[in-house]
Assembly symmetry: C2
Homo-oligomer: 213 residues x 2
Amino acid sequence: MAATPRPGAVDKRRLILDAAITVFAQQGFHHCRVSDVADEAGVAYGLVYHYFDSKEEMLNELFLERWQIMLDAIGEIDARDELPPREKLHLVAGFIIDSYRHEPDLMKVIIVEVTRAANSFGRIHLEKIREAYVKIAEIVESARQDGTFKQDISAQFAAMCFYGAIEQLLSGWIFDLLPQTEEEFERAKTLVVEAICGGLEVSPSPSTPAVSG
Amino acid sequence: MAATPRPGAVDKRRLILDAAITVFAQQGFHHCRVSDVADEAGVAYGLVYHYFDSKEEMLNELFLERWQIMLDAIGEIDARDELPPREKLHLVAGFIIDSYRHEPDLMKVIIVEVTRAANSFGRIHLEKIREAYVKIAEIVESARQDGTFKQDISAQFAAMCFYGAIEQLLSGWIFDLLPQTEEEFERAKTLVVEAICGGLEVSPSPSTPAVSG
DNA sequence: AGACTCGTTGACTGACGAGTCAATCTGGCT
DNA sequence: AGCCAGATTGACTCGTCAGTCAACGAGTCT
């Protein structure tokens, strides 16, 4: 499999992975050919199979690599006990949005190709994805315990809503349904937290239970 | 193409579409063969191509058919002027969640294969998907105008968060990350609206802007 | 130099599966 | 009965592409 390249030598494995990001993002995982990745990397077809067992393995690698970085980041944010929960969520949202801002292709691949394939691929991905929800839920749970968050909304449920809102924003950017400017990215970080934590309503009704149809 | 079947005769076209729902949901659109659909429908391979031009057309058909129903439903909900915006959103959430409850396979296919894959398929779908966001945004906008919703969160942004939260819940059910019981479905309808409209926090800070890291 | 290892090449193979098509069936109509 | 139109069949074609492999190159050690 992969060997550590001599210093100064180009890391072909990395080169191929980066090419895969570009190609997967542009054409989609299922619609591109392995030869497209090789071409993009400026490398012979066979070399791809020197470093990876299969086309799918490249996708796995890209996902696991990036997702782990995110899990670590969320973990670190959660560990900063001096921060109030809302601020933690703000940092989490910021991290994910910045991930997209700096590596839109990679995030596109992860969201569009992996989340979607989570059913046909191994359970490893689902487990990793779940980890993120769990970590976010922990932040929410601490807020429920200190009384700032509502009791009747479970932490797990809230975490799904929070993450879903963020992922939807990324989807909006990915598919050009939302404007992509630096200001928008920055605003989104604050607004998504404001929307989920503070709610859309101006003055909430804390005692009034939700309307039922 | 398709002809109206004699009354009493089985509508083979419908039979094939229903089989496609099952097969696409189980194996995924890309991983299944057209013969799988034919087998599931108990029909000869060639008949699939009598009713549909391609494998993709079946998916298009399933999506457009169902999505239009949803767009109509949202439109009708929005038209009921006697309802407060929050209640409208509650009905929209209820409609989508019930769609999943009654036809989980179909919704799985739409979410997993179309909504998230709008990338590789034609832009027609994107336009249809956007319509849903726009309609939800209209509901939010009316709430902003009558002063119940915050001014600093745009209707479009709020609509994305709202829809994203709901789709994430469906994803959670689809991938068995959330429990699927009748009670959960019912609770979710109310809670997702409560989370987004009322917010997660017990007492919001209307004057205090969000903290910035 | 010779031998060995590991990176690199790209033509080739083999399987797979979408889509075709000529033949067959069915039921209605005259 | 004989004819026709549309439904139905499934074996076959044919392009595509993931994955293989035998050969070549470049650096290293003895």
